[in-house]
């Protein structure tokens, strides 16, 4: 059975609202009353979700089974949407706040607006697609933790902020636009692709992993040029990204890449690929 929960934000909260209970996988059974009673944290007060959300639940036998949660409105001040979700689909028709999809293990999140900082931080699986821009610390680790995102994919149609993929340990981050400085900082593994302009200090402190960029003007001198080649994984990665609904203009399947290894200070096992023909 397919279940669609369609909710609308009735008023924009004037203080931050933490809504980690709003995730499709835990709403598979809940009726509207139960849903409205879900506790959210508003400043330091616990409030019922019904104070901010109204909507309906539709259930149909057609199509694939699963839960889709649709949130409509300006969720910029709402934090932790879909945090820790393991399955189902979350569609946010508007912008959303910090920590969206943090620690998620599966399912899909689609954001038809801008996303706040720490999008998909510590995620281990699933796919997040952002149609607008994302903030800082996409797929990163929280301070004091040693591993950021470990699996899954974050696909960003717009730009991203600083520290994209900090301490990332696996998975994929794709930014179609530009990103600010320190992408892939202290990265352990995984793949980051930045199709636009990248900020300075790409991959500094990276231990392993792959960062694919268009311009390497800011590569630190502790990265060494190895060769120019056509990596066999590129057509596969490219078609995966296209399957996620993102077409990268100018990045053909036959792209050539300059391969740099680094960072020398941390063992030189990471790689930065500079797209030749883009």
């Amino acid at each position: 059975m397919k279940r669609v929960i369609d909710l609308r934000l009735t008023r924009v909260p004037d203080l931050p609202l933490e809504a980690d209970r709003l995730r499709p996988d835990s709403l598979a059974q809940a009726g509207l009353d139960e849903l409205y009673a879900l506790p959210l944290l508003y400043g330091n007060q616990t409030v019922a979700a019904g104070e901010f959300l109204r909507g309906e639940i539709q259930e149909t036998e057609e199509g694939a089974s699963g839960v889709t949660l649709i949130l409509r409105g300006d969720f910029k001040r709402v934090k932790r949407l879909g945090q820790g979700m393991q399955s189902g689909e979350l569609i946010i028709e508007g912008p959303c706040g910090f920590h969206t999809g943090a620690e998620m293990g599966g399912g899909r999140i689609t954001i038809r607006g801008d996303a706040g900082d720490w999008l998909g931080a510590h995620m281990t699986g699933g796919v997040i697609r952002v149609e607008g821009n994302a903030g800082h610390w996409v797929g990163a680790s929280y301070r004091g933790k040693t591993q950021g995102m470990r699996g899954g994919a974050v696909i960003i149609h717009g730009n991203a902020g600083r520290m994209t993929g900090t301490k990332m340990r696996g998975g994929l981050i794709v930014v179609r636009g530009d990103c600010l400085e320190f992408p892939g900082y202290d990265m352990n593994a995984g793949t980051i692709l930045i199709a636009g302009r990248s900020g300075r200090h790409i991959g500094s402190g990276m231990v392993r992993g792959t960062i694919i960029v268009r311009d390497g003007h800011s590569l630190l001198p502790t990265f060494y040029h190895n060769c120019a080649y056509k990596p066999s994984f590129w057509p596969l990665l490219r078609s995966y990204i296209e399957a996620q609904g993102l077409v990268l203009d100018g990045w053909g399947a036959d792209c050539f890449f300059d391969r740099y290894s680094g960072e020398a200070l941390t063992g030189c096992k990471g790689e930065v690929l500079l797209c030749h023909t883009a």
Binding site: D14, L15, P16, L41, Y42, G43, N44, Q45, R77, F98, D117, W118, H136, W137, Y142, R143, G144, E181, F182, Y185, R200, H201, S204, L220, P221, T222, Y224, H225, A264, L265
Partner: protein, 432 residues
Amino acid sequence: MTVTVHKDVVCTFCGALCDDLEMHVEDNRVIDVKNVCGIGRSKALHGDNDKPECRVRGQQATLEQAYDAAAEILSRAKSPLVYGFSSTVAEANRVGVELAEILRGGLDNCSSYCHGPGVLARQHVGLPTCTLGEAKNRADLVVFWGANPMESHMRHFSRYSVQAKGMYTPLGRKDRKMVVVDVRPTPSSKNADLFFQVIPGSDYEIATVLRALVCELPLPTLADDSLVGGVPLSKWKELVALFKACKYGVVFFGIGLTQSQGKDLNIEQLIRLVGDCNRHTRVYAMPMRGHANVNGNNQVFVWQTGYPLAISFNRGYPRFNPGEFSVIDMLNRGDVDAALIVATDPAAHLPHTAVEALKKIPTIVLDPVNSLTTAWADVVIPVATSGLSAAGTYYRMDNVPIRLRKILDCEWPADLEVLQNIKERVLDAKDH
């Protein structure tokens, strides 16, 4: 009137906490100070004058009325912020933390926009560090990176670093090499043996190259005359040679490094550089903390909550996330609906947008002197001045706790007492 001379008084202006001041007191006023620099002198002479009026919403009030008003504002708030503490004693910091926890509010201190990045870096990579006493007695190489002590910590050179004569540095300046890295020539750089004028925002790259040089890694893209941060590589090699040749080096880093592009990552890389140097010789790093007890804030916050700054208690337990719970970001986003400000002057230090946000919400300020913030705060509570008319503990920039004495009488209570009074009233309000 007799003049009383107090010896070994602590100066509470900057993080160097010079503890050898001589204060001459007559008629409960400091009339003269010896062994002090210019900024320290003016704090000592005027730190306990110019008390603000005790006010509630612009009207003169008694202390009791002010406590009641403060407690009412705070206990009603859904997202209160307790912030400041840079110029008050560790004991008051502790009550501040307790109050933030009871209120389930935010808690931050001034390091959030000065040396906080250094504190965050230290959490990630540790900090090989020493005390100022060791620097004085042993250091034969002192490096100032993004710091200008001649203007910010005026007695640092003579008491602790460049000119100080110590056990293994009997000749003072002659026994030491001094290096300055900064974006412009400063009074401090004029004294230096080597001065590196670097391009703003290039510190991370420089520290990375220095690390590679210390670790003897190849740098195939750089020739000797290639510029790194605006300075030729050959000159950086000289600095590395100095590092390797010294017996005891200390790198003092200032706000020029913590607040330039890269912030905590600059410090992380610098600390790692210092770590790499320790494969060859003994080198340490130390932050040049600005406000007297801003280090004490971090110390107290850490032993009370586990985190040094940018803390939220809104779930009842401490959570930490700089960028999310740091004072400037919270104010800019409008995440705060009441603020308790202790021993700092946000109107003078915070960006304009954050100050405007503060003006829109009920604000309580505890300040020993009239400030830009006391001019418009809703509740103003005058307090005794730590180190002059209030006793307690401050932490020096090298983490050494120093006891402050009370040498003057003051009609107003100390921060500690005020915070305790507000706390008790908040507890009462929450019970009912």
